[in-house]
Symmetry: C2
Subunit: 215 residues, 2 copies
């Protein structure tokens, strides 16, 4: 019941095409007329599928974020080891990122545009996703000293979400290789405790940089 295959399919196509337009020109610079031209739907015809430009952006972001959360949770299901869980999250994130770069660019770049309940709902998804990563990092760190969880989490997201600003398909490596590079840097960096840090600094450079976190 309540199924409208025709409606749903066309809405999905509109969201996809509109995401491309927003990704290319930016949300504010792109006009509904641009989206009408790209989707081959008339200007007023579009408003049968969403009630405002902001609602259109909201639908794109919610669908995109919902899919990411779904996939991450599905891939994480049954896996207990913290390190393996982190590898899964990064790989899943980057796979989805590169396969849906236009949507992800809209998600990353137009994060502050939504207002009111639109913003509330997307922010809730965002917090949920960040909490998954943060919990993994807490588990991974264990009782040892280590980087602040909030900073480490956002730093990892920065490494991944910044990609849309420089990634060139064809030129740059695919999701798996990219995930390996990111995981190598982040994982080895995050796991190395303050003690290790001191040892390495001593052995290689004798630089005398003290422990960052102790006490």
């Amino acid at each position: 019941m309540d199924e409208r295959p025709r409606y749903d399919a066309k809405l999905a196509r509109i969201l996809q095409v509109a995401a491309g337009v927003f990704a290319e020109k930016g949300y504010h610079r792109a006009s509904i007329r641009d989206i009408a031209a790209a989707t081959e739907v008339s200007l007023s015809g579009l408003y049968y599928y969403f009630e405002s430009k902001e609602a259109l952006l909201f639908l794109i972001q919610r669908h995109c974020f919902g899919t990411i959360l779904e996939r991450a949770q599905a891939e994480l299901d049954g896996v207990d080891d913290a390190e393996e869980r982190l590898r899964i999250v990064v790989r899943t994130h980057l796979r989805f990122f590169l396969n849906n770069m236009r949507e992800m660019k809209v998600l990353s770049h137009e994060a502050e545009v939504l207002t009111g309940r639109y913003q509330d709902e997307v922010s809730a998804l965002k917090r949920k996703y960040a909490a998954i990563v943060s919990d993994i990092l807490r588990d991974l760190r264990g009782e040892r000293d280590g980087p602040d969880l909030r900073i480490a989490t956002f730093t990892l997201f920065g490494m991944m979400n910044w990609i849309y600003t420089w990634y060139k398909p064809g030129k740059d490596p695919g999701a798996e290789a990219l995930a390996s590079e990111v995981l190598h840097i982040f994982l080895n960096g995050f796991r190395s405790g303050a003690a290790t840090e001191a040892d390495e600094a001593e052995a290689e450079h004798g630089d005398g940089a003290p422990s960052i976190w102790r006490g």
Copy 2:
């Protein structure tokens, strides 16, 4: 000669206030009328100081990027050790970032807006700055295997430039502490050789992604 202290000072103030308006509302959503209100200069009066809205954004970005480059080069002067050079760059970058967050947000968030010669000139500054970091990383890596330089460079910039999306002054630590966290994760991760990584990768995906760093 060619000095107009009154003109220069007022232009500088306009750039600063306009950067705040752009940071808050976004370049396209902010109107020249918003900037006129914020600067307390009349709408048409602003056009005595810049010839178009795009030129205004260009002046902001060039001034901001020019200052960063200047400071980085000054701080790096005379320092040879690669690791110390990286520490200096990250510290300088984050110090400037937190002290000029509005300008840096405009620089990061409105990177694709400029066109033509405006874009060319800012892109040149950006490449110059990225090359400094990339050269340091190459030096730091030496002859060993290690992450791809292009990816590592952009990954580091991602860690730093993503900050404007989550940083809360007062709540989050200052530039020095932030730089320590970022440097700890990135430096230890970047320096750790491929051997460690290979051990880890072995345990999981027979997926056919052998050595991460081809060749």
